[in-house]
Structures are given as structure tokens and as C-alpha cells.
């Protein structure tokens, strides 16, 4: 691998909500052209990191450093589409901000890739949940971003849509070199997509482990011994977090 260029770096970030401390002296870097994944259970501060890194929210202290003023795009957990605009108008709405509204070919390509080519003129309510999420995803790519933030984009999607979206992200990323910062709680998803995985344990505890995955993305299978081992390792980390319930064995036996 060549010399890495950081596109984004979080330095000693602190963040609390009222009395709840979510991030304590948190550090993280995202390299140009990679899929960087933040993996952790609910409540580990993933979304807070996402919001601070992407500039949606500010930290109590610490710095967010960006290289060359990168253009950000966002895929939110629940699609944030304008209900009074059609699919294609939703894309144009954000493209206009960057003078890209005349990029018809780009839009057509994205609609074709996502299988939404027949729904360009449909309003969001006329699309299924999976289709809305696909639209949300291609809207991000429609602004020709340098960095796309994906906040649990596959949450509550069916298997087929998940595979479909994974393929789409993987292909566009590989061919365009757009950097992707992915947040997920699903270890499988992280292993199949990411170049680098940061594992978060619990709130304010910082990064528990960093995993690099060298195997080319298109050749990855979860049954592959190497990946499977990594999955086991990740599961172990999470298992350690869960408190032991053995103390209750006697009570369960006697009370039921």
C-alpha cells in the first residue's frame, strides 16, 4: 500500500450530553480512498462520532481536521428524502448546491445501478423502504463527494436489499476512489465491506481494537477461514462486554 493520506482526523474529542459522557479523549483517522468502518453495539457512541466527524454537531473539546476541504455526503439511518419532490428532484435538490444539476448522465447511471430507473418520477411515499434507502444512497453519490458518511444504512433492510446495496457501494467505491466512513453494529457487514474496522466497546471507552482487512473485497466470503477467525475475535470482544449471568442459575431453577 502506498503512503496513506488522511482525509479526516479526530483529535482528542470530548463530548457529553448533560451528565452522560459519550466520548472521552477520542481519536480516529480516515484515510483517503478507503472504506473505514466503525463497529460497535448500540450506545457505544457511534452516531455521536458520526455527527461530530461529519460536522453535524460540534464537540465539547478537541479538533476535527480535514484535508483539502473535502466534500461530504450523508446517508442517514432513516432516509431523509423530501416527500414533496420526486426521486430525481431529490437528487437535483442536493446537486444544485454544487452546480451539478446538469449531470444527467451521472443521475441516469446511479438510477440504473440502484435499479430505480423506472422510479425517477415517483414520490418517496410511492417507494418501498428498501427503495427509499437506495435513493438516499445514490443521492449521496450524486454530489460527487470526496467522503460519504453512512450511518447504519442497512439497518432494518431485508437480506436481498442489503446484498444489493453492499454491492453498489463496493463497486462505486472501488471505481471512483471515494472515501467511505461506515457505521454499523453488524460485524458481518463490517468484515465484508471495510478496509479497516475500528471496534468500539462502550461509551467513553474509546477504540477497543483496530482490524485491517487485506483480502480484496470481491473475494470475501464470511465462511473464509481468515474472515471467520476475525468474526470470532470480534464476537469475543462483544461477549466480554456482556456480564456473566451464571450467578442466577440457582434462582432460575428454583423459581420456575
Amino acid at each position: 500500500m502506498t503512503e496513506k493520506n488522511k482525509i479526516l482526523e479526530l483529535k482528542s474529542i470530548n463530548k457529553s450530553y448533560q451528565k452522560l459522557r459519550v466520548l472521552k479523549d477520542f481519536n480516529l483517522e480516515v484515510n483517503q480512498g478507503e472504506i473505514c468502518c466503525l463497529l460497535g453495539p448500540s450506545g457505544s457512541g457511534k452516531t455521536t462520532i458520526f455527527r461530530i466527524a461529519s460536522g453535524l454537531e460540534s464537540a465539547d473539546s478537541g479538533r476535527v481536521e480535514k484535508n483539502n476541504d473535502p466534500r461530504f455526503a450523508y446517508v442517514f439511518q432513516n432516509p431523509r428524502l423530501l416527500p414533496w419532490k420526486t426521486a430525481v428532484e431529490n437528487l437535483i435538490f442536493v446537486q444544485k448546491n454544487y452546480g451539478l444539476e446538469n449531470e444527467t448522465k451521472l443521475r441516469d447511471l446511479l438510477f440504473n445501478l440502484s435499479g430505480l430507473e423506472d422510479f425517477k418520477d415517483a414520490y418517496p411515499h410511492e417507494l418501498s423502504g428498501g427503495m427509499q434507502q437506495r435513493l438516499e444512497l445514490i443521492r449521496a453519490f450524486a454530489v460527487k463527494p470526496d467522503l460519504v458518511f453512512l450511518d447504519e444504512p442497512f439497518k432494518s433492510l431485508d437480506m436481498k436489499t442489503k446484498v444489493n446495496l453492499r454491492k453498489l457501494i463496493s463497486l462505486i467505491q472501488a471505481e471512483s476512489g471515494i472515501t467511505i466512513f461506515l457505521i454499523t453494529h453488524d460485524p458481518e457487514e463490517a468484515l465484508l465491506l471495510a478496509d479497516r474496522i475500528y471496534i468500539l466497546a462502550a461509551e467513553a471507552e474509546g477504540i477497543k481494537k483496530e482490524i485491517k482487512i487485506e483480502k480484496p473485497r470481491e473475494k470475501r466470503k464470511i465462511a473464509d477461514p481468515q474472515l471467520y477467525q476475525q468474526l470470532e475475535n470480534i464476537m469475543d470482544i462483544f461477549t466480554d462486554l456482556v456480564s456473566d449471568l451464571n450467578y442466577a442459575v440457582e434462582d432460575i431453577r428454583s423459581l420456575f
Binding site: Y74, R80, L82, F93, H125
Partner: protein, 250 residues
């Protein structure tokens, strides 16, 4: 036109007319004029030109006052939504205005403006419709989906585009419902104020018919008032509703 008064209503209307016809046959026309008498009275006021003249006067007053209430109501709602100090200061005042009976406002208006032809009805319509417009728009603003605004800001959308392409369309349904509710208030208040304190307009004609014991005319004017109200509510506003919610689920 699909929503223009549903068919069962026509059926009900026929029954009402039948009861009216039966009832009028056995009663003095001063108490209940027949359909024929009322129609005759309607024809008379139409031919004499009083109908159109009075209707236009009342309509003009309603439009002026209702229009101002819409503009002021929207501005107030935006300001109170934006600034919490203003909200804490003025929000109860709106409730006070809303809680005050129209009769009090008319009495005050007569004292303040005298029996000035235009001012009393305009004042009453304004003061009665303002809280309705305000409350609806204010609620629309409070219930606005801030996720969409955050999305737009994240994609560096300029402020004026956020206002035009997110605030405005999300407020339109609330605005239309405000317009609809407030119009009913405005139209009735206008006639009420004219009845009490004006020498022109439909309300004044009603009060004249009343003092002359011309019950057939009273009915004729009432029919005009109701017909116009139905036209606005079921035709104009319905069209507007269809237009603003074309992107919504049926």
C-alpha cells in the same frame, strides 16, 4: 371536482326541502316562508342589484381583513417560533384574544370606531381569524421535520432554498387547513359585524329584513351566505388541498 359535495348530501337536501315545504304550508309566511316565497325574494334582490352590491361589499371587507390576518398570523407564528422570549411573552395574549367572545369585540369596535361602515366588520374579522391562522401555522412550525432541515444544511443548501423548498412545502398543509377554518370564522364575523354596526353589506341587509319582518328575504340572504361558504369550502379550498398534498398518500 371529485370532492364537490358528496351525493348522499343531495339526498339529505331534498328531505330538508320537503320538510320545509310541508312545514311552510301549515304556517304563517312570517314564521316560515315557503320555498316559492324565498325564491321570489331572492329573485327580487337579484334583479334590483342589491344582491350583487351587498355581496361584493361583504366580500371585499372579508378579503381585506382575512388577507391581513393571514399575513400577520404567519409573520407572528414565524417570529414566536424563532424567538423564545417573544413566544413566552405573546403566546398567552393570542389565547386571550381567542377566548374573548366576538360580541365583546363588536361592542368595543363600535365604541372605538363608531358605526363606521368598513372599520367595525374589518376589525372583527381580523381579530377573530388571526388566532386561528396563528395557531395552525405555529403548530405546523413546531411539528416541522427538523431532520430534513439538517439534511439540507449538511449538503450546504443555502438558507433561502431551505426556506423555499423545505419550510414552505412542509407548512402548506397547515396553511391550507388554517385558511379553511379561518374563512368560516371570517365570513360569519363579517355578517355579524355588519348586522350590528354597518349600513351596507349582507349583514346590514339581514338586519333590515329582520326589522321589516321580511322573513322571506332573511331566508334569501341566508341561502346566499351558505352557498358562498359551500363554494369556498368544497370547491376553492378543496382544489387547493389537492394541489398542496399531491405528494402525499391518499
Amino acid at each position: 371536482m371529485k370532492n364537490f359535495i358528496i351525493k348522499p348530501f343531495w339526498f339529505l337536501l331534498i328531505i330538508i326541502f320537503l320538510i320545509w315545504d310541508r312545514g311552510a304550508a301549515g304556517l304563517n309566511s312570517l314564521i316560515l316562508p315557503s320555498i316559492g316565497d324565498s325564491y321570489q325574494a331572492l329573485k327580487e334582490i337579484a334583479i334590483s342589484g342589491i344582491l350583487v352590491k351587498s355581496f361584493l361589499i361583504t366580500l371585499r371587507r372579508t378579503i381585506i381583513a382575512y388577507g391581513s390576518a393571514v399575513v400577520v398570523g404567519i409573520i407572528l407564528a414565524l417570529l414566536l417560533h424563532r424567538f423564545s422570549l417573544m413566544r413566552q411573552t405573546f403566546r398567552p395574549l393570542i389565547t386571550i384574544i381567542q377566548a374573548t367572545p366576538p360580541v365583546v369585540w363588536v361592542s368595543l369596535a363600535v365604541v372605538w370606531f363608531g358605526v363606521a361602515d368598513d372599520l367595525t366588520p374589518i376589525f372583527l374579522i381580523f381579530i377573530v381569524s388571526l388566532p386561528v391562522i396563528f395557531v395552525n401555522i405555529f403548530q405546523g412550525l413546531e411539528e416541522m421535520n427538523t431532520d430534513l432541515i439538517e439534511m439540507a444544511e449538511a449538503y450546504s443548501t443555502p438558507r433561502f432554498r431551505i426556506l423555499k423548498e423545505i419550510y414552505l412545502p412542509s407548512l402548506l398543509p397547515a396553511l391550507v387547513s388554517a385558511l379553511s377554518i379561518a374563512f368560516a370564522f371570517a365570513w360569519k364575523s363579517s355578517v355579524f359585524a355588519e348586522f350590528i354596526a354597518s349600513s351596507s353589506g349582507i349583514g346590514y341587509q339581514l338586519s333590515r329584513a329582520n326589522s321589516l319582518m321580511a322573513t322571506d328575504r332573511l331566508f334569501a340572504w341566508t341561502i346566499i351566505l351558505i352557498l358562498f361558504m359551500l363554494f369556498v369550502e368544497y370547491y376553492l379550498l378543496e382544489k387547493l388541498k389537492d394541489y398542496v398534498s399531491r405528494w402525499k398518500n391518499d
